[in-house]
Amino acid sequence: MKVRIKIFAALAILLAGAIVFSPLLAALGGTGLDARHLADAFGSAPRPLVRSIGMAFISGLVSLLWGVPFALLVDRSSPALRRILWSLGLMVLMVPPYIVAEAWIVLLGPVGKISRSLAVLFGLGPHTTDPIELARFSVPGLVFTWPTVGIIMGGCLFPIVALSVASAYRRTDHRVFESARLAQGRRGVFQVAVRILIAPSIGAALLVFAATLTEFAVPQLLRVRTLGELIYEQIQNGDLAAAAALGLSMLPLVVIAGAVGVVVLLRSRSASMAGLEGEVPKFTGATAGPPGQLAACVMAVAAITTALILPIISLTWLTVTAKLPQASSTGMHKLLRASGFFDSLKGAWDLAQNDAIRTVILAGVAALLAVALAVVMARIASSAGWGSSLGALGAGLAVPAPVIGLGLIALWDHGAAAAIYESLVIVLLAWFARFFPLVVFLVQAALARVPRELENAAALAGRGPVERIFTVTLRGAAPGLVAAWLVMYVLSATEFSTTVLITPPGQPLIAPSVVNLMRRGQDPEIAACQFLLLAVVATPLFVIAGTWLARRAFR
């Protein structure tokens, strides 16, 4: 029996590895490693690599600074307020970081709407009436620097830390705080809180670090040369193997950060979306009074400013201030190009509605299959005692998106396998290669929080192993599984770096379409396209999460 489980577990781990790493291996093997090119590529890697690590470090730090106080303050507020603030916090995850970066440039750049106004307000503007001198005034800001990339990514990903901390906090029996207070006063409470929360905080921040390390779009927009840019350079030169090998240089860091993060999270049994879970320990802390509620509101607003409020202000600004000239071009896109926000939105929708519907269905299916597969794999691997070995999948996060795309072409554009390559299944495979490790981690965390005792009780009651999974494990892990589904859905629906390479002809998907439309757009067009992308991503989420939240959460 034990041997059979181990065989199954080995097969499951191999399958997961194949899903995640086969494109990388195909890319490495497909063109052959040329030692001279490789040495050349690595020769220019150290500085961009250091910069990549720097921005990932800042990102992890920022996610801690926003995530920990957000979780603690919001979780102590009243149920109604907590529901609102958690919803706002989680909405941050739906905004693609490249949209956030664009908003930062518009509002906080050298001639940003906010930064320049503030500078003038504080008397830093030019003291002259010369219109040219006035127009030339710009704020030597920090937007186009690598720390800003870290700040933006940290702001976009802080809910990961917040959720992890909230989970640990909710699981805590609050009598320990009371005991610590009686024994050592506030200092004692602080010490106990640090001990309880440090592992889930650091674990989640390490995941944020790993995710930022491989980001390409935001550094590109903010003119920061990272390892990602170097990898793109190699791909443009046609040296796919060197590009894949450069990606490998990030691998140890991502593996260490990701694996340590996951292990820490698993050990602290921090579920993935505690904010949604409604799990309340027997002895909870008292709800905070009005000052605490106010502090929670202030903290929430501060935390979501980076990645939610600023993009909303930027979008609104672009929409409201856009001038509306007559269309100066003909064709079906004249509305899109030169009209107001609503006409642009209609134009974008007319052009991309099929893409949107296709994307929603495909991303939904991808998320569904990923969660189902991850449940089976995680269950089998943990039964064999090899659960932590799935952490190695985290290395997949270090594989650059275009390498995955080109590797999949090398892998599947042959003979009978071409049927896969010519269908949308290739897109599913690409999304799996990119995001399956995350889903596995989230599912493992969700399954880990189901007490073994319940399953043992079900076994004593005569339930078989399969029945136990369905009646006890999945039921208990359902909130975490829904969270994993949501994460996979959002990431897949907004992914474009790999998608643009492998989408079958004639079946475009929404993210590449919208990015394409946005590229040359005027203000209303850009705003409309961004709105369309967010709406497409968010609509099914609102339907599913809204129904679920209303029934289960925040009790």
């Binding site: 490249y98 127009a135 710009s138 046609g238 079906m332 275009p402 269908s423 770096s497 394409n516």
Partner: protein, 352 residues
């Protein structure tokens, strides 16, 4: 309940996946049996190309299965996909990418020559010496200048002026390691020679030239006043102009003895071994017409006619002057200069 939902969800997912594969397989069979189809990889923006695709489908009954690119993918997108698919091509016609990347594809034997009569009819319009790509629908690489921060007397008039110290800290170009600006820089190395091109790059470096995310990004930064001037294309500049931004378009290097403005015209090419050669040829012939160039000139592409008849009929948007002097680029040579240019960019602009 959970069990039923779980099983239902998994079955639904698997059925959808199988259906997707079958659908692709059956549609491929249908392609060969009944409805004629052509696969188009289109690096030209969808808003520019979609009207023509629709019109071609209407006129010929041939279904176009198009795959589009994004600027975010730079030349890492469709060009690399075609290279990667070389042993089992999926694409019939490649529209866009420019002469530079088409020459790279041609050198990799990914492209096949156009029909001889079409090459001959092309006349003096730009094309590969063997007809493996044909140029049409021109796009000029111009200087975009913010009129709020620069008075007419102090505006730049040459690509070289971007290295002028009076613009220090306020000039921008798209990242020259990627896409169109990589092609542009390689072309300058070919036309000016390595020494002068390196001098230009050194001047840009001294001027703290911003390397933007793309030509549309250069336009936006100049329109906002963050940068004073930079290199962009007519199609991008037009967006700022009709958006009533404070910008002016300058056609660089138009004086006697000067190199002229780079023409980053559209290109179209037949992919070697593409699955639908007959339909591909029809699409190629459809695109290589003055009618097509007229539609592109009036649409968001704002292209300038390149075909002999289009030049005779003066096909161009009204705001673009008639006799813009263009740079004479040997794209085969520019491709040879590409590694030299890239090395120089790294050494000079990136200190590597």
């Amino acid at each position: 309940m959970i069990r039923r939902l779980f099983i239902l969800a998994v079955v639904l997912g698997l059925v959808t996946s199988i259906a997707l594969v079958l659908r692709a397989h059956l549609s491929k069979e249908r392609d060969t049996d009944a409805a004629p189809t052509v696969v188009l990889y289109c690096a030209t923006d969808r808003e520019i190309s979609q009207d023509l695709i629709d019109q071609f489908q209407k006129e010929t009954g041939i279904q176009v299965r198009a795959k589009f690119d994004t600027e975010a993918a730079k030349a890492v997108g469709l060009v690399q996909a075609i290279r990667q698919e070389k042993t089992h091509p999926q694409c019939d016609v490649f529209w866009g990418g420019g002469a530079f990347f088409n020459t790279i594809l041609a050198n990799d034997n990914c492209l096949t020559p156009a029909p001889t009569d079409l090459i001959q009819a092309h006349g003096n319009a730009p094309h590969d010496s063997q007809g493996r790509w044909l140029g049409f629908a021109g796009v000029y690489r111009i200087l975009i200048v913010n009129t709020s921060v620069l008075d007419p007397a102090s505006m730049p008039h040459s690509y070289a002026d971007l290295a002028d110290p009076r613009f220090k800290g306020h000039v921008g170009i798209a990242n020259p390691l990627f896409g169109g600006m990589a092609a542009h820089t390689s072309a300058l190395f070919s036309v000016l020679g390595e020494d002068r091109a390196r001098q230009w790059l050194a001047g840009l470096k001294q001027n703290d030239c911003a390397m933007c995310a793309g030509m549309a990004d250069v336009r936006d930064r100049v329109a906002s006043g963050e940068l004073w001037c930079g290199i962009t294309s007519t199609v991008d500049a037009h967006v700022a102009l009709i958006g009533q931004k404070p910008v002016k378009v300058i056609y660089p290097d138009q004086g006697p003895g000067e190199i002229g403005c780079l023409n980053g015209y559209n290109t179209v090419a037949l992919v070697a071994g593409g699955p639908h050669p007959r339909e591909a040829e029809k699409l190629l012939r459809f695109l290589m017409t003055t009618e097509t160039e007229k539609i592109l000139a009036q649409g968001p592409g704002q292209n300038i006619g390149q075909l002999p008849q289009s030049i005779a009929e003066d096909v161009r948007p009204a705001w673009i002057p008639r006799d813009v002097k263009t740079m004479n680029v040997d794209w085969a040579d520019a491709v040879k200069e590409y590694p030299v240019a890239t090395k120089a960019i790294r050494e000079i602009l990136l200190n590597q």
